[in-house]
Symmetry: C2
Subunit: 203 residues, 2 copies
Amino acid sequence: MRILLIGATGKLGAAVHETLAGRGHEIITVGRGGGDLRLDISDPAQVTEAYDRAAERAGTLDAVVSAAGDTPFKPVAEMAAEDYAAGFRGKVLSQIELVRQGTARIAGRGSFTLITGVLSRDPVPTGSAAAMANGAVEAFVRAAALDIAPQRVNAVSPTVVTESLADYGDFFPGVKPVDLAQVAAAYVRSVEGGQTGQVYEPV
Amino acid sequence: MRILLIGATGKLGAAVHETLAGRGHEIITVGRGGGDLRLDISDPAQVTEAYDRAAERAGTLDAVVSAAGDTPFKPVAEMAAEDYAAGFRGKVLSQIELVRQGTARIAGRGSFTLITGVLSRDPVPTGSAAAMANGAVEAFVRAAALDIAPQRVNAVSPTVVTESLADYGDFFPGVKPVDLAQVAAAYVRSVEGGQTGQVYEPV
């Protein structure tokens, strides 16, 4: 398959890239800081540009997979309204735009795989913007799946990953981490499987 | 208790008003089209004004309850990026601002009760923006509860209400409706109870 991968330079994106490429797929990478297409998808116009340039380069895409999304972490009392708006633009609208603009662009039975995370269901202090964003994307996925069939849309919602425990472990006391390989496997399941409207929680 | 009620002119808001007033609470109503304070909380500056004017009128609030939130309904293919942004402003950021700005304003053990809805978990076609908004608010509630304790925050997430079946029943084929009185009771449970971080699903 021809797959557009957003967020390829992060730890998760690199693992997803390696896993999907290892299964014989052709990957076009998009990133703010690197990749085949250097673009910031939190700007809807750059989502359009990503699709335009991917089409020139590779023709019709079979799948779009996202491993990118930024949200601020602060206690509610230290947040500004703009922090929540930034979380919306950086993780919600950015990924919704991949789907909204993508339905007319990708293959008739193509798929979208978005990234969320455990905080929507299992919150931590300072995580209200991240939780908001994850909850938004997960509910969007369940609903959008009804509208876009036979195209498909799923989310991957990992807990803290084993390979990032040194950086983020303190946020998740007592939480069993998940190996990056299992998170990447959830992307494979979404891209190559037939399910839609699912929120995969890799373990 | 002194309670600020947002969205008092809607069918749900009127029922919540009547139920809370009937339990002896003092209610100050806020609405775009009517109420004690005529304001639009989708503008963060008007949330500030609502709190300022409510304080002048009634002193310290014990609870803030929201029965207001607008989102567009269209198939994903007919949505614009602005439709999702409007849903965010109209139902997500508006209610987050009630909490974010309210923590420094309401009583030390006061509470916030927000409105979501069934579409986050049980979607319908054309409901992707509503689902997104509901999922965002529900996840925010679970996470924000950790930060704002001993103040509390919950959501009420009704399915289609019996009294609105004539208008919305066609969107919910085969779904068992819930009586407005049971939805209002969930607000009572949130305001007068001790729980926090909950998403009440009245039946």
